[in-house]
């Protein structure tokens, strides 16, 4: 039967059946997709480098308040989700990519988010940016290279990757500032990553340890009336 000969009702019915068939096929295909938890965790880390967008946000009285309130609300929300998961209200299985040891303690993404918010609110961007980059890239790079090259070589590579992040963030500083600051920062990031603590995740330590070390260096130099911070590398829109 030609389409022109069909009644409007038949055409509608055929279209509906076809749509239904396509929908079933699409759902079937979606169900068949499986995501690898290992690479999912790695990509979650590298995704965090996008948080640097925060420093592009414009400045202003209202905007500055929003820049404080929104990150705090977000961390409180994920804290609530984690609290509910740990209390057993939310099923652990629903949280894709969690490690076994995270079953009975807050998951690493909460530590990660908490550290990022602390960096945003209490540290200058010159210190915060390389620390966030270390958590975003050094951590997964060490994780991957450890698998192929062993622990020592992985940490060695991790140190130089972190050093690179501090060098590019402080590239406008004087060389006598740039080199020691980069070495201190990279060492802090490496120790933060390598030293495993029972209750504090390495995603928190890899960011906070270099940040605190550099903050002390910065404060000590200010006490001697020396200003080591280079100009900001991200300027608001």
């Amino acid at each position: 039967m030609l389409f022109s000969e069909m009644s409007a009702k038949d055409a509608l019915k055929t279209t509906k059946e076809r749509m239904s068939k396509y929908q079933d096929e699409f759902l079937e295909r979606l169900t068949a997709i499986e995501v690898d938890a290992h690479w999912f965790r790695r990509v979650f880390h590298t995704f965090a480098a996008s948080f640097l967008f925060y420093y592009l946000l414009p400045e202003g009285e209202l905007m500055n308040d929003i820049k404080i309130v929104i990150p705090i609300i977000l961390v409180l929300c994920i804290s609530l989700v984690e609290y509910r998961r740990l209390r057993g209200v939310l099923n652990h299985q629903r949280f894709f990519g969690l490690r076994n040891y995270e079953k009975n303690r807050p998951a690493s993404y909460l530590y990660f988010g908490f550290a990022v918010v602390l960096l945003f609110l209490f540290f200058p961007q010159q210190i915060a940016i390389p620390c966030i980059l270390c958590a975003s890239f050094t951590d997964p790079i060490i994780g991957e290279t450890r698998y192929y090259l062993g622990k020592k070589k992985a940490y060695f590579i991790g140190f130089f990757v972190s050093l690179f992040f501090f060098l590019i963030t402080w590239y406008q500083a004087e060389w006598w500032v740039l080199i020691p600051v980069s070495i201190i920062g990279a060492t802090g990031a490496l120790v933060g990553e390598a030293r495993k603590l029972r209750f504090i995740d390495d995603d928190f330590m890899i960011q906070m340890l270099p940040a605190i070390l550099l903050w002390f260096v910065w404060q000590v130099t200010i006490a001697f009336n020396i200003h080591i911070l280079p100009p900001k590398i991200i300027l608001p829109i």
Partner: protein
Amino acid sequence: MEIKNSQRKEIIRKLLLRLELWFAPLLLIVPIIVSVVFLLEWYTKGFTSGSSAYDGELLLSMLILIGNIFFDIPFIRSIRTLKGKQ
């Protein structure tokens, strides 16, 4: 028809609970968008006006882009492999 509809609803409910499926595109696309924004900022405010104050944004955009692509490729491959096995 009724049974088929309820089956379909059940599949959709299960898919909605698989957070990784909804997060995966976000994890891949957002860093690329952010790096492009940094790049545009550098180009419009730094490169065209000859200001070196925005060079840091160029460095960061490249870093975010290359770093993410470096890990995105094995991630996308892993999805395909698992899909292929099925």
